[in-house]
Amino acid sequence: MLPEQASTVAADIDNLYFYLIAFSVVATALIVALIIAFAIRYRRREGAEPAHRDRENWKLEATWIVVPFILIIIAFAWGANLFVEVSVAPDDAEEIHVVGKQWMWHVRHPNGRREINELHVPTDRPIRLTLSSEDVVHSFYVPAFRVKQDAVPGRFTSMWFEATEPGEYHLFCAEYCGTDHSRMIGRVVALAPSEYERWVEAADDPLVSAGEELFHDMRCADCHTGEPDATGPDLFSRYGTAVAVEGEDELVRFDREHLRRALLDPGARVAEGYPAVMPTFRGRLSDREILKLAAFVEARAEDE
């Protein structure tokens, strides 16, 4: 019934949650028991005397004002104390930048490594995220860490956590942000510190990651989903192979040049069996950007 406890504060927050549950169960049981007992004991019977009028008693009223007040003050103080801990990052926290935009998370590590919809972090080290948004309000939420913070356009907000267990955890956008709000999800990968060092230092071709970003920005995957019934053909399985195009007898090799022409003059070579609906990117993509995209598609094609 609980999500995993994977950060230093998760267990503390769950303990407070259990206090509130215990308090609520006792209070509910008391109220329900009294109502049932009175309902049975004082149910209306034939020919009974009129109801008894209780004397008003201010001491009784004072009791059920003061006692609940004290009990909730405990919850308030406990919660406030813990909140300060959850809010204020330790001085030695490592800083990672996160930018939300419809509908993805861009992450940038201190050494410049980037990722999309994933966040790799080391365990046992405090991590401070500086959040912002390029469009509407989003919210960065990792249930296993029990932390959440809005990413607000026009300002920086921050949050921090320290992962305790290596593993993969849900990352959700918690603030409604439009069409694909429920697909603005990803994962947080907590790695042992040594593995994180290896991961973050791993030579990551900057061309490829820049291309991946463009791939998201230009919304290529809206049509080139990779599904069999997609509007556009799957790019990664076809790259490097010979493909059929409308109106030509010979197959065409899907290489960088083909990709460039498809982007700038999509009507010239339409993939066979697909509608000619691809818009041109002339004027929107420079040659350098097309090279980045090609590098990404090539890298993904090699992976598959």
Partner: protein, 542 residues
Amino acid sequence: MDDTRETDPAEGDAGPNYLRAGYSIRSWLLTTDHKRIAILYLVSLTVMFLVGGAAAVLLRLELISSEASLVSGDGYNKLFTLHGVIMIFFFLVPSIPAVFGNFLIPMMVGARDMAFPRINLASWYLYMTGAILGIAIIVGGGVDTGWTFYTPYSSTYANTHVILAVAGVFIAGFSSIFTGLNIVATVYAMRAPGLGWGRLPLFVWSLLATSLIILLATPVLAITLALVAVERATGIGIFDPGLGGDPVLFQHLFWFYSHPAVYIMILPSLGVVSEIVACFARKRIYGYPFMAGASIAIAILGFFVWGHHMFVSGQSVYAGIVFSFLSFLVAVPSAVKVFNWIATLHRGQISFETPMLYAFGFIGLFVVGGLTGLFTATIAVNVHIHDTYFVVAHFHYIMVGGALMGYLGALHFWWPKIMGRLYPERLARWSAIFVFLGFNLTFFPQFLLGYQGMPRRYHVYPQEFELLNVFSSGGAIFLGLGYLLPAIYLTWSLKYGRAAGPNPWGATGLEWTTASPPPSENFARTPRVTEPVYNYTGERQS
């Protein structure tokens, strides 16, 4: 029993009952009789409730599966926006004040009508204008901002009919201002001789508190929504940082209305439950001054807690802690209410007619809704459950479990007075139980989903949340059927129900001293109040 109405001396020379005062459509659409206006509201609110309820059923059907099944992502977003906007602005906010407040406040204070009968009629026309705009938006393609209209999504990014939607809510807001104005003026100025403040039924106190919130808070909502429309239409930067505005400012302004609005929805039900519990326990409500004071206290405190909707929005840590503390304080007058109802049951003469079942159901759901409110007020826990299904479950326990159970309780309690007919009691009791069970099956699993981390407003979701969603959707089907039953048997009772007589429950209160349905002028002559309030135990004049 059938002859009671004709021979009842209370009717006297006050003329025919208000339902017989005219049969033409014109006599309804141009009426200034508060009782007829209440009926106009009852009919239009029922239609809006059905629309909002149909949207809820579609949402729950979609969520049976973790993948997209029934509707597209945009379709889902429009459905939950529609559900929220209709249920909050066109059903819950007006519900009890516009129907039962209109019908009962003049009768409870011994007056012939509201203080401003024409403003009262104008309020219904404003409501209808807003409602028709709302329906037009649905037909014209919908709106997808959520009922909260958060900026800059609503003001810049959404491609749907945002301006029309905020215009509809803006106009409907003035309809509630008119109703609130009337209630305050009527209670202050038109009480019958002998009806001092300490003799007002608690329903009147709670509607007075509600009306004060409506008058003070609704203008803020109106201005905020107008600013959204201005930014959207003209590009003047108010909330969009791209234009030099501040999106968090919108949240402050919006919740400055919308948190008090929660008390606009729940306070009237607290008043209804006091009337019902006193009647069916045959006792004066225990701690009357504390109950009246608690209503006022909730109304006042409600204005100082809006920041608890923004604990993770980037507001300062200290502001968050102060708002957390103030939010906890609301629990105190709420607890006072519950304990005083229980003390009223003590040594009473309790019977279990349908309205009392709804009152018991209300107390149970209100307790759960209130206690889970403590979870959301606890700031460190809130960080985790904010914008998850935990919050969805919590506010449905308050606003549906609370406000709607109160509305149905009121409908069953005063139906014989309003229509002069009794409904089939056994069927009504079963449907009350059905609604209670269906409600819990629908919304309790959502607490668990929320703490597990399922965010709200998700069209598709990870598979591990599917089982609890299936339970919740199953409950929603029960709940929907439970709401349809009263619509059927109450309609049936209009023609086939037994005549109710002036006071079928043996209740105290001026509205029960006149015929059912009441004559157009309410009372043959202005009543004179000589007894304490809720004088079920036959006390002498104090």
